[in-house]
Symmetry: C2
Subunit: 387 residues, 2 copies
Amino acid sequence: MNQKFEIPSRLLMGPGPSNVPSSVLEALSSPTIGHLDPAFLEVMDQVQEMLRAVLLTDNPFTIAVSGTGSAAMEAAVDNLVEPGDRVIVGVNGVFGTRLVDMAGRAGAEVEAIEADWGTPIPVEAIEAALKRNSVSMVMLVHGETSTGVMQPIEGVGDLCHEHGAMLLLDCVTSLAGVPVRIDDWGVDVCYSGAQKCLSVPPGVSPLTFSERALEKLENRGSKVASWYLDMTMIRNYWGEKRAYHHTAPINMVYALHEGLRLILEEGLENRWDRHRRHAAALQAGLQAVGWEPFVDEAWRLHPLTTIRPPAGVDEKEFRGRLLQEHDIEIGAGLGPLAGEVVRVGLMGASSSPESVLRFLSATESLTGAVSGVATNAAEQLLNRQEA
Amino acid sequence: MNQKFEIPSRLLMGPGPSNVPSSVLEALSSPTIGHLDPAFLEVMDQVQEMLRAVLLTDNPFTIAVSGTGSAAMEAAVDNLVEPGDRVIVGVNGVFGTRLVDMAGRAGAEVEAIEADWGTPIPVEAIEAALKRNSVSMVMLVHGETSTGVMQPIEGVGDLCHEHGAMLLLDCVTSLAGVPVRIDDWGVDVCYSGAQKCLSVPPGVSPLTFSERALEKLENRGSKVASWYLDMTMIRNYWGEKRAYHHTAPINMVYALHEGLRLILEEGLENRWDRHRRHAAALQAGLQAVGWEPFVDEAWRLHPLTTIRPPAGVDEKEFRGRLLQEHDIEIGAGLGPLAGEVVRVGLMGASSSPESVLRFLSATESLTGAVSGVATNAAEQLLNRQEA
């Protein structure tokens, strides 16, 4: 005790956090100032403006929640669900399951629409459920971090609205890694996390509400269960009144500012394309040495690849040696996928040709594959993409 | 937009945040690694050990909550109050009022024991309330940040236990600034904030539960309302199982590690004494130019001084010019004290002779006091303390 800690240098290719650019760490360590200091309020305003640009929304209520992605999830659910409300939740992985749990705690009557892990929720199933019962909200996970599936969303917003329901979308792992178009898609509530494709350390999380969602919030008959996440008060701190509610995580907001600035500097389309290209190269490399994709190409979530190792590779030992001998972190399978697949993230700053090649080269050496087979396959694809 | 932000250099003498030492900012900006990385788990273990040393407790359940002080307050209340529980809350300022609100949201039947703002809750009133009704918990604010009052605690723990109640203590502004002795005092639940006397940026918050509190948690008949703050699950992440719950705010935990290390390096007694001496010097200086203390000396909270400006000083204009012309932040009065008092913090790294003298010198110049009167009074006391 009483020693300074030491942090090893890791290549972060798990399900998040991703590697954080040095300018974001630099912003993070700017001097702390007061949460009502005019200079900080100006940073908050710019964060709100940049969040809207990254979320492709004009929603005035677009803020950063003072906690990690699950806090933003809870803020979305707790503020917009009232005891007795009926909601539909798409469940095809850990995070849909978490939404069911949270909505239940908020007092909702929850109808879960299940799909096999590794596949999206069929839109027809959502439609059928909307026709069966009147519900106040449909909750879907856009990028399922436990399976690597991307949920198709186009048309779902209109479908919900036609049936008088709002659409909540979990964009924790999708935002800034694949197209997310809040206004075009008619999404009423969306949250994300900092440590995935935004490449900001965890601790502050984007949240946006549409006008429809704000109306629901304003007409609540009961207090929000959580004081800390009560947006009826927090909106007065992020809004014009600047009324103190709780002390914001000031340095985390600095980091988010710089992370968003880098995203807009790169351009959303370029960033989406970068995530797509490197995920494809990773797949090409791993498939060349016998790894088997878990998710159909049509639904693959580019920032997170779930893949089965070939026979003879012990995934737990592989992950352990990858971390200890190569300083590369990847993720284990969760729930029914434990021991079956590994999860390899290429998110934000971690999504680069160097990450792909370093990981594949380490994989060749750890699994006894012929040296160069995986890396060459990936490199050829990267070169073709370049051309 | 798309510009890097600029943060002015401020002397933070408000009700928090306090100035953050450079080594804490440096720790904060260490590279982000995974929340299950063995190197990070080691940092967490050390944080727990140092938190116990600073809280003067042997409680195994001693962790850092993934949010600011109000999140830790909500974690304390939500996990240990069940719908229908009867609780007593001492209310003599904003934070007692907040506890009433949170306990109510958690479904408690709340009996508020009120005292005038600026005075502590009389122990006799707590005893009388305990005799009237059987309650599960007594909630008290140790350092009321809205008034600058320190609540006497000795003997209160025993009193609660004799009546079968637990004692919750809000130490947001007191921890590491004045004596806080969790085990000696028989406190069952205590939380604090990072940005007060710990001088760590806001975003991560100490929380400790006694065995009695853990027993209550384990025997709950209902789920904790908040998933994000549900300690029945989170204890498995901080404990031996290391089960993933939510992604911890990794870099904030780094910063807390370094903040705690600095506190233990200084020594708790030395740190308490430092806060006492500088608060006394501040009082001496301000009283020499006609400012009037709001709180009786017996109950003054050294880290936060509430004081009335002399006639003719517009407190709002004073605060504004102090910030704009001298880069010094202090706090406004809250609630019934708005416009009546200002709140001057000397917390953690901000509690220094230099802070006291720079603030007093600026005060002399902004209020038309004779130059040197306040600073000399403070300096003489500082010199006597030194001798």
